[in-house]
C-alpha cells in the first residue's frame, strides 16, 4: 500500500464511525519501490492530499525526514521538497503491518501489500 492510497482511505464504513480518518499505520515491513518522478502529477495530486495525514503517515513509516508539518505556499518551486513528497506519496510501500481506526480502534491487517478492509456483517454501517 502506497501512502497516497492511505491518504484516501477511511474506516467510516464501520457502524458508528463518522470520520475514521486518518488511519494509524503500524508498520512491520516497509519497502521503497521506484516510480518515475513526475512533478506535475505530484503537484496536482497534492490538491487532493490531506497534508497533516500524509506527514503523520510518513513519520509512522520512518520516511518523514525533511517533510514540514505544514506545507508552505511556494512548495511548487522547491524541487528538493517535491522529490521528497514524491518519495513519500508514491515510492514508500507498506508490505506488512496494520491500519488502526482512530475512533473504534478496529485493526485492518496489511499482508503482501494489500490492506484487508473486509468487515463482519454486524460492523457494516448505514
Amino acid at each position: 500500500m502506497k501512502l497516497l492510497t492511505h491518504n484516501m482511505l477511511t474506516s467510516n464504513i464501520i457502524k458508528g464511525v463518522t470520520k475514521g480518518f486518518p488511519l494509524k499505520i503500524v508498520p512491520v515491513q516497509v519497502e521503497i519501490k521506484d516510480v518515475d518522478y513526475n512533478p506535475a502529477f505530484v503537484v496536482r495530486t497534492l490538491s487532493k492530499v490531506d497534508w497533516p495525514a500524509l506527514h503523520q503517515a510518513a513519520v509512522e513509516t520512518g520516511f518523514g525526514d525533511g517533510l514540514p508539518e505544514t506545507l508552505g505556499e511556494n512548495f511548487q518551486q522547491d524541487e528538493e521538497l517535491l522529490k521528497k513528497i514524491h518519495n513519500a506519496l508514491l515510492q514508500v510501500e507498506v508490505i506488512q503491518g496494520e491500519l488502526v481506526c482512530p475512533e473504534s480502534g478496529r485493526k485492518f491487517p496489511i499482508t503482501n501489500g494489500i490492506p484487508n478492509m473486509l468487515l463482519q456483517e454486524h460492523e457494516v454501517g448505514q
Binding site: L4, T5, N12, F41, L118, L119
Partner: protein, 276 residues
Amino acid sequence: MAASGRPEHQAPPEIFYNETEASKYTSNSRMIEIQQKLTERALELLALPEDVPCYILDIGCGSGLSGEVLTDNDHTWVGIDISPSMLDVAVEREVEGDLLLGDMGNGLPFRPGTFDGVVSISALQWLCNADKKCHSPVKRMLVFFRTLYAVMGRGARAIFQLYPENGAQLELLTQQAMKAGFTGGLVIDYPNSTKAKKIFLCLFCGGPSQVLPQGLGTEESNTNVAQMSGRRERFRKSVKSSRDWVIEKKERRRRQGKETKPDTQYTGRKRRGHHF
C-alpha cells in the same frame, strides 16, 4: 467469466475465484483479450478529459487486467476485490495500481470526492447474490451505491460492465443507484446479437446534466418506435439468394456487430456461366 454457466450460481466470489480460477486470468489469452476490450470501451464511456492523468477506482479489479488498460492510458488507479487469490495474482504481475481486499457490499472505504472516475468489469452482478444467511442484496446495493456516490468527485462517471441474469436484476440495480442520487442509465452495445451484446450501467454523479452515450451497433434500430402508416404492409421475406435477400442478410450481420463487406454493385450479382 468462465465459459460454463454462471459463476455466481456456483460459490461466493471469494471462494469461486480460487487459485485455479485466478490463474486462468493470466494464462488464457481469450479471457485476457475480452477483459481488455471491455475496459477500453468502459474507459471510452467514462469520457475523461483528454491528456489529463486521472485517479480511478476499479471495483472488482481481480488480477489487474483492467488496471493495465488504465495504466496504459496514464491513469493512476486503486483496485478493490473480494478474492485474495485474484489479488495475489495481481501482486505477482506487478500491476501499477494499489490493491485493497474488500467487499463492495460493505461500502467503499474512501474519503469523499476522491475519484475522478470509476470502472468495474463483470463484477456488479455479484451484488445481486445473498452468499451468507445474513446478506440482503437490496440493502447491500444501497450501501454500495451510497458510499460510491460519496467517494466520487462531482460530475464524475461510474461505468459498470455487467452480466445481469434477468431484467429484474438490472431494474433493481438501477433503482437502488437512482435512490442513492445517481443519474444515468444503461448503454447496450450490439443489442441485436446474443453473443456480442454487452451491457454497461453508466452512472453520473451530480454536476451539469450529462447525455447518455449511445451503444455501438444501435444507429438505425428504432425498433421500439411504432411506425404508423396509411397502408398496411405485410412483412415478406425476399426470395432466397436474390440481391435483396443478400443485402438484408448483410444488414442483419452489421446490426450484430459482425464483420461485413460493404455493399457494392457486385453484391448479389448473378455469376456468369462459363462459356467457351
